[in-house]
Amino acid sequence: MSTVISGFRQMPSQFVDSLDSDPVSDESLLEAIAEGQTRAFELLYDRYSPRLFGLALKILQNQSLAEDVIQEVFVSIWQKARRYQKGRGAPAAWLLTLCRNRSIDLLRSQASRNRRTVDMADDIQERLQAVAQNDPLTAVDAGQQAENIRTAMAQLPDEQRQIIEMSYFKGLSQTEIAADLQLPLGTVKTRTRLGMEKLRRILRITDGDSVG
């Protein structure tokens, strides 16, 4: 006979167990959210809303629109937490991608441009994750990551940094960037590749320093 009172939802056992080993992992929070735990949802919100809101603000440059995005993203997390699968990447990356994609969609809809965000098919995402799991850069914690990426971006030549920022934070396609900067499309593609490769090299060195 069950004695559970309705309205007071149970937590997954691993979630309860993890209370003794602070902090509760993101994965456990998402599992609890998938089971309808509003407390877990609040914890996830407190943990990530400043990063997501900062990202949405940087992309949209508008407080009200950024709030709308955060509301959409977190309601979506509440409704779709079951869709998050372990082994498909860090929850933080998933949340930030949701936030970035929704912000770019909104930005582009305001500018009457077509949608162009990275929505990968599930099978590609899974294979990609299998390849990425051995990458040392995936193991860097968020605080260190922020410092590393800032340092790395500061070392890029201006023309490469500018193109990467226009792509990522303004949601512009390479064709649009070429038109904006009055550059040949091939130059934009090459600078994107060189910039991303250089970032990777610097991050690997920095990561090696920070991880030891």
């Binding site: 006979m1 069950s2 004695t3 559970v4 009172i5 309705s6 309205g7 007071f8 309860v16 407390r39 949802f41 609040e42 914890l43 919100y45 407190d46 809303s49 400043p50 990063r51 809101f53 900062g54 990202l55 603000l57 940087k58 709030e67 955060i70 509301q71 977190f74 309601v75 509440w78 991608t97 970035r100 994609n101 162009r116 990275v118 990968m120 098919a121 590609i124 294979r127 990609l128 390849v131 990425a132 990458d135 850069l137 990551q145 990426i149 971006m153 990467i164 792509s167 990522y168 934070f169 396609s173 390479q174 064709t175 090459t190 994107t192 590749r193 991303m196 490769e197 990777r200 991050l203």
Partner: protein
């Protein structure tokens, strides 16, 4: 495909910046399971996933959290219809050992839930304090709430706390609730999400029963839609306390019960 060309496509793809035709071409390679394409993309994605960290974290306005919580609470309402059955009215001392263990487990789960809630409130307090625009009244309100929740946890997790299932009565067999009675501290806390909606001119009232005497423990507040709770001091001398009961009374409460009794929980004998 030329390696540089492959990396160009992977870099643009990871940033969501490829033209339609380039995107399609690279997507086909990925779908075909091209190992080099996957590896190139993986290398670029790891970098692209770090780019959000270039944005400084900014705490969103506190009101946003309330807005979101309101929306998800409205969203989860249908799920509440899937509830478990409460036991029929009977004294605790007649229950099986399994039943008692299950009650203890439920108590532990509830206590953990409250602990998480307290932690969440603490985080909110810290965040609010860090914001210049925060209103000092809000901080004080949260602190009081935090202190109240901590008191609730103490009551729920006391060494001598008894968990009492509040059994439904004939007026509403679906009503349900649970009461934590800490005899050491003479304190009790009651929760229910199964009491029916009531008119504005009515209120649920908690009673402590000592023999034939009913002593009011206070009016039960509705915390949010359909969820009721009350925390109260029990009698200084609880020797004669036999049961707790919930009745429906006129707004403002009454000195003695006059309305229908919805829930009764028997205090187990020593």
């Amino acid at each position: 495909m030329d390696k540089d060309r492959l990396k160009e496509l992977a870099a643009g793809y990871s940033l969501g910046a490829l033209s339609e035709s380039d995107h399609k071409a690279f997507d086909q390679l990925l779908r075909a399971g091209d190992e080099e394409a996957l590896e190139a993309l993986s290398e670029m994605m790891v970098v692209a996933e770090q780019l959000p960290s270039l944005a400084d974290p900014v705490p969103p306005p506190p009101a946003l959290k309330s807005r979101i919580l309101n929306e998800i609470n409205a969203d989860q309402a249908p799920a509440r219809q899937n509830v478990t059955e409460m036991p029929t009215a009977q004294p605790i001392e007649g229950a099986s050992r399994t039943w008692l263990w299950a009650l203890a487990a439920a108590a532990l789960i509830l206590a953990c839930g409250w602990a998480l809630h307290v932690r969440s409130l603490q985080q909110q307090v810290d965040m609010l304090a860090a914001q210049n625009e925060i209103n000092a009244g809000q901080i004080e309100q949260l602190r009081q709430e935090l202190a109240r929740r901590e008191q609730t946890i103490l009551t729920m997790s006391g060494d001598n706390t008894t968990v009492i299932a509040m059994a439904p009565q004939a007026v509403d067999p679906d009503a349900r609730g649970q009461l934590f009675f800490d005899a050491d501290r003479n304190r009790a806390v009651f929760f229910s999400s199964g009491l029916p909606d009531i008119d504005e001119n009515k209120v649920y009232q908690m009673w402590m029963l000592r023999g034939a005497e009913a002593i009011s423990a206070g009016l039960i507040a509705e915390e949010k839609d359909g969820e009721f709770s009350i925390e109260f001091d029990t009698l200084p001398d609880d020797d004669g306390l036999t049961a707790f009961a919930v009745s429906l009374e006129p707004q403002g409460g009454v000195p003695s019960p006059t309305g229908d009794i919805y829930l009764v929980g028997v205090v187990p004998s020593e």
